[in-house]
Symmetry: C2
Subunit: 233 residues, 2 copies
């Protein structure tokens, strides 16, 4: 069916433009022009611009979360009865998202930026489209994380997972680009070591991933605070 081509072309163009300029700053005309299709094709195939936003995410999130769950099952199966390590669980959660960047053919880098954008832009979108897609991932990884972090108070646990997601989202949104470096350098700011970084280092996805995991392990395993009385509810 010829319609499939048009749909894909629209989604590719929308994904790129959304990641570059945001959702509301990207016009339907810009999408269809970049896709090389007629203006009306977007409404014909998707119904509305909002539906395109949903479709862009749903095209990528499904495979991404399926990979996360599969990796988690693998490390749980291949670990003995003592269960997987914290690093194993973290890697299963973070690797599929970060490693998308290493496959530019699938538009992964664009989508990484887009996911980071989705985390902070459009609260409506996140709660409706994403939450539904992420419900099972939340459930499964929540159990896995609690098993490897048994001594962490529940509240502390919640917040630390929150911080890990923040570090991940920020990395997804920015690390693929060299914005930080460019910004700092253009301002003449010199941070020891930073200026000696080259693009190879910055675009090495595996290195970024292992650094993020190492950081998250350290943060999650930090000494738990003494429990504070909060009025037993």
């Amino acid at each position: 069916m010829a319609g499939e081509d048009t749909r894909e072309k629209v989604l590719d163009a929308a994904e790129e433009l959304f990641s570059e300029h945001g959702f509301s700053a990207t016009s339907v005309r810009a999408i269809t022009t970049q896709a090389g299709v007629n203006l009306a094709a977007l409404n014909y195939h998707f119904g509305s611009k909002d539906a395109v936003v949903d479709a862009v995410f749903e095209r990528r999130i499904g495979p991404l979360n399926r990979e996360r769950l599969q990796l988690l099952e693998e490390v749980e199966a291949h670990s003995g009865q003592e269960g997987p390590t914290l690093e194993d669980v973290l890697r299963a959660f973070l690797a599929p998202a970060i490693q998308l960047a290493s496959d530019p053919g699938s538009g992964g880098e664009r989508f990484m930026k887009l996911m980071g954008r989705g985390h902070s832009e459009s609260g409506d979108f996140f709660s409706k489209v994403i939450a539904r897609q992420f419900a099972e991932v939340f459930r499964r990884f929540s159990r896995a994380f609690r098993r490897v972090l048994p001594d962490l108070p529940p509240e502390e646990y919640f917040w630390r997972i929150h911080f890990v997601i923040g570090a991940m989202a920020h990395t997804m949104a920015h690390s693929a680009t060299l914005r930080y470096l460019e910004t700092l350098q253009s301002e003449g700011v010199t941070i020891e070591g930073v200026l000696s970084l080259d693009k190879v280092t910055l675009n090495d996805t595996d290195a970024v991933l292992s650094r993020l995991i190492r950081f998250a392990v350290g943060g999650l395993q930090a000494e738990a605070p003494v429990p504070v009385e909060v009025g037993s509810k």
Copy 2:
């Protein structure tokens, strides 16, 4: 001068609407209506909508960064010759940003969400407006962090600061609201402990700050990797 009132009213309204819906999704008419001023007042006082975006940030960033630098000077002055601790430096950097939420009178909570948005939306904006304002903070804290993390390889150091900023930005953008909780609960996702959190806990700024600091200390102090040869440049 009566014009000052109008300027402030426009900035207040713009700050709230930008934080709620993003920059390009907020119209000039929505801003001036919420501000209770005439439509043309915005262009009369600021020249353009883009100039309002700049002004909204500049009104808050200056005091915020001044407080950061002052706190850093204080902990450096009051610590002996062994210098401040990592937690001291982290607190000086993170506290002014996170604690803005505890002063709703100054519109701090709105601005926290806005800052988180600014970190991920509008790359142009960040590199131009923010970078200029943050240059000195970057410089000063870079030196302080390197002093308390002397054994960290420069590249690792760069990335870990990056992750800390991500955790901070994500917290700024989302933690003031209960979006995560609401989302999870509305989806029926049950994470042990999470459902027992109440609003008091979630809105306790000091608790969030200390949790973030504890997480960041753990992440930053995680064991450094063995140096990898990357082609000496």
